[in-house]
Amino acid sequence: MKTFSYFPGCSLEKMATSYHQSSVQTTKALDIDLQELEDWNCCGATTYFHVDELLAYTLVGRNLAMAEKAGHDLVAPCSACFKNAYFANSYLKEDEDLANHINYALAQDNLQFSGTIQVKHLMEVFVDDVGYDTLQERVTHPLKDLRVAPYYGCQIVRPRKDHEDVENPRFFEELITAIGADPVDFANRLRCCGGSLLITSRPAAFQLIYELLLNAQHSQADVIATACPLCQTNLECYQMQINQEFGTDFKIPVLYFTQLIGLALGLPPKKLGIGTEFVSADHILTFAKEPA
């Protein structure tokens, strides 16, 4: 039984409760113990770095320090949170001066960063710590013939250069295969969803979302799988408005990869937060069958 400090991040508190629920449920089912970081704070999202880099690192630093106290590696399900934590962690490790600044501030909360832990994205836990084979064994309701568009988005792979292959990652596809579904060739799987542009410059964001949905439709996907609340919100909650804007009629459900895994593990949809979608995912449920 592996234990991690779990950093849900603000979005999972409400906007993406379903991601939170499914993450907790599936990991539990796979003997991974996610212990929510006590009194965690917002990591500043991407926006924070617009205003003050040092303060941004401090915010992340607080969470890292608390995880160090707990003594477990930190896991973030939100790609933006993950990217912030991952890089803050490595910068603070390699830049003593920066670390000193941050620690001066952290002292106010009786905390200290010493660089003793690793930061992982939730998906990495499934890939590295659970493993495709184990996952495959545990699957009771393979999602046979379900065509899934693996939407990596940005910050789960970038800007990490040390990452296996930033331009051609395969781990999402592998996961989808492991739960019995078919990953489709989704050309735009690494393209941006617009992130917070939705707020600051709507037309640009809409353009990006439109392209993604269009490409997903071309690849005849039944569902888009994401690993980030912002991607999910942009792609799903705004589908209707995209349709108005571009005169399209997209009806592509967008689920978190944890929800799909949950289904394959035979967990009840309700527990996985399925049902709160704007674009109904009901027909997806019918794919999860016990093999005859």
Binding site: D165, E167, A187, N188, E211, L214, H218
Partner: protein
């Protein structure tokens, strides 16, 4: 014993005198122990300057000479000459570098003058311990080993052979010809590659002075300039060359077809017993066991049964052949950058993305499509083609260097498309068009007239994800047109990736085998980047062609010929004189610990089990001195770099600060 040292301080015009107070220095030097005469002179390297030295030796009976001037790499030979003409052994001379290392490196006159004194004192202290040495004459074996049968190797081989020297050529592939044999046209003249290459290949094959080993590799090389011993592995061909007439029946009758990944770049098939191409030299085919039905299942033997001369021998084994040679020319060529390493270009995923080599084969009249330009489906003719420059080049994520040939061959491709598919649109995505070379810029202008679209900007993405009308079913090349400052999406039917040249995957091993270096990119390091791009740091080993760095055909040919000339020079000398900088072991002092044995990179130190002592084979020793430094019982001496010489040099170098903290005796 006390030596009579003469010190000569050079002004080098104002190069030295401008910063160093030469009069003061030479006056000071004259007052140092053992120095009997000290002069300063405008140009020591001039004949008058040299005569000064010669006369002083004769008249004042000098026994040691020190010249303080430029770098020994500049004039050491010159002054050794003067010393010798004066009647002393040339090695009783030492040079103090007060120009490159001093007057040119600082403006601080005082400091420079002080440093000059230190450098001179060091030289004086050192030269006192010099011993007379004789250069080591080495016989040159007139046979030359040429590794690699591409255009560079072929040129070198023919130059040497035609001059009456024996050449042994070793080629890894079944035929010589190298990459050039795969090309259709050559830029900028567009003459047919095969037409100019095959005659040369035939010459090599038939030349009485050339022994050709194809399907062979150099496995080991030992020895030194003039006397190398190469071990060549002649891989089993399963064809008895003496009997084979090259009629080709075996190839014709062989039932087994496999994709030819090497010569046809995967675009066509060959048989399990094959010649890579019809004009192959030598004419003998090669059988590849992993794909041969007989080797797999123990039956078939079609080739053996049908061979009119009974030349097929399934029992044949690899042979190891030892060949003594005097010099080596490495012409091992290059590998093409693997376009799969740039996933966003979609090679391997998007069918109609081709590599430059695939395209070369495609447009080749004797190639898989008989020279017609078609998509993967083998029939559709593209209406629009994008050519992407700098694939894997000028990019710190892959290769930082410019691959030099890609611009020109990309232009050639564009031209060939215009020629074969007149109504097709051609888009070249480039960073900079680099056309330095005779007739190259003119060729670029010609392409501009032919109506090629040139878009300045590195292609960012190649995708089949259509989003605008007109993009469906096409490949979309996305890039910024940097001259307009706008992002563009260009839909095309076919994309050609102009991949760069990179060092052979095994170049590092090769460089180690031949005891020379290669740079961070894996290209072989030349002795001097400007003045000696042909020799390497290992005497008797030369390089030619793309193994030294990206090169086009004319450059490779020129370097091949140059290498041949260099080797030819050595051969006609018959012997070379080598610096007597060598290590030797004092048997009495040797404890037989054998530390030195493994340290020597040239295996020049052998161990006598009987006497339990090590010995240096002078002929093999290159004089690096690593063993000298390592010997725990100081039993090894490095001639001209002995411990006394260096230690006293250190003392001299620190003459002015020694008092500062001299150790009580």
């Amino acid at each position: 014993m006390s030596e009579k040292v003469g010190v000569y301080v050079c002004h080098c015009g104002t190069n030295i005198a401008g910063t160093v107070d030469v009069e003061e220095v030479s006056k000071w030097a004259g007052e140092q122990p053992n120095v009997v005469c000290s002069r300063d002179y405008k140009f020591m390297c001039s004949s008058l300057g040299q005569e000064l030295i010669e006369e002083d030796i004769k008249e004042q009976g000098l026994t040691r000479i020190v010249v303080a001037a430029c770098s020994p790499h500049m004039h050491e030979k010159t002054f050794r000459g003067a010393t010798e003409r004066g009647g002393l052994n040339p090695y009783l001379f030492e040079m103090a570098n007060i120009r490159e290392h001093n007057s040119w490196a600082t403006n601080d006159k005082e400091a420079a003058t002080q440093k000059a004194k230190a450098l001179i004192d060091a030289a004086v202290e050192r030269v006192i311990h010099h011993q007379p040495l004789e250069p080591i004459p080495v016989e040159i074996n007139p046979t030359t080993l040429i590794v690699g049968g591409g255009i560079a190797g072929i040129t070198a081989a023919l130059e040497l052979a035609n001059a009456g020297n024996h050449v042994v050529m070793v080629e890894r592939e079944p035929s010589i010809g190298g990459h050039m044999a795969q090309l259709d046209k050559t830029f900028p003249t567009l003459d047919c590659s095969a037409c100019i290459l095959t005659p040369k290949m035939v010459d090599v094959g038939q030349h009485p002075n050339i022994t050709l080993y194809t399907w062979s590799e150099v496995e080991d090389i030992s020895g030194y300039i003039g006397n190398f011993k190469a071990t060549v592995r002649k891989k089993a061909r399963y064809v008895i060359e003496e009997l084979c007439t090259g009629c080709g029946i075996c190839e014709e009758k062989c039932p087994r077809k496999v994709v030819d990944e090497v010569f046809e770049a995967g675009l066509a098939q060959r048989k399990a017993i094959y010649r890579p191409f019809p004009q192959a030299v030598p004419k003998y085919p090669v059988l590849d066991p992993p794909n041969c039905t007989y080797f797999e299942r123990g039956k078939c033997k079609a080739c053996q049964i049908l061979c009119p001369t009974g030349a097929i021998d399934f029992e044949q084994q690899d042979e190891l052949i030892e060949i003594p040679v005097g010099n080596v020319i490495l012409a091992t060529g290059y590998d093409l950058f693997d376009s799969k390493r740039i996933p966003q270009y979609g090679y391997g995923r998007l069918a109609n993305v081709f590599t430059s080599l695939e395209f070369e084969r495609m447009v080749n009249a004797s190639g898989p499509t008989g020279g017609s330009i078609v998509l993967r489906d083998g029939e559709t003719v593209p209406k629009s083609v994008a050519i992407i420059h700098c694939v894997g080049s000028r990019d710190n994520n892959y290769h930082e260097y410019c691959s030099k040939v890609c611009c020109m061959y990309s232009l050639k491709f564009a031209h060939l498309v215009h020629e074969r598919v007149p109504d097709a649109e051609v888009y070249n995505f480039y960073l900079d068009i680099r056309t330095p070379g005779k007739g190259y810029e003119e060729f670029y202008n010609r392409l501009l007239e032919e109506g090629t679209h040139f878009i300045r900007g590195r292609a960012a993405d190649i995708t089949d994800a259509a989003r605008l009308p007109g993009e469906e079913g096409k490949l979309i090349v996305q890039a910024e047109d940097t001259l307009i400052g706008k992002q563009r999406r260009v839909p095309v039917d076919m994309v050609i990736l102009s991949a760069g040249m990179e060092a052979r995957h095994d170049s590092v091993d090769v460089s180690l085998m031949f005891g020379m270096g290669c740079d961070f990119n894996g290209f072989f390091t030349e002795r001097h980047p400007k003045l000696d791009p042909i020799a390497t740091m290992t005497e008797g080993v030369f390089i030619a062609g793309a193994c030294q760095g990206p090169k086009d055909i004319p450059d490779s040919v020129a370097q091949g010929a140059a290498a041949a000339a260099r080797v030819g020079g050595l051969i006609s000398q018959g012997t070379v004189m080598m610096e007597p900088v060598r290590a030797s072991i004092n048997k009495e002092a040797c404890s037989g610990c054998r530390i030195c044995n493994d340290l020597c990179p040239y295996n020049a130190i052998i161990f006598h089990e009987d006497q339990k002592v090590s010995e240096v084979i002078t002929a093999l020793c290159q004089g690096c001195g690593t063993c000298v430094a390592a010997c725990p019982s100081s039993a090894i001496t490095g001639a001209h770099f002995t411990n006394d010489q260096v230690l006293s040099e250190i003392e001299g170098l620190l003459w002015d600060v020694r008092e500062r903290q001299a150790v009580p005796a």
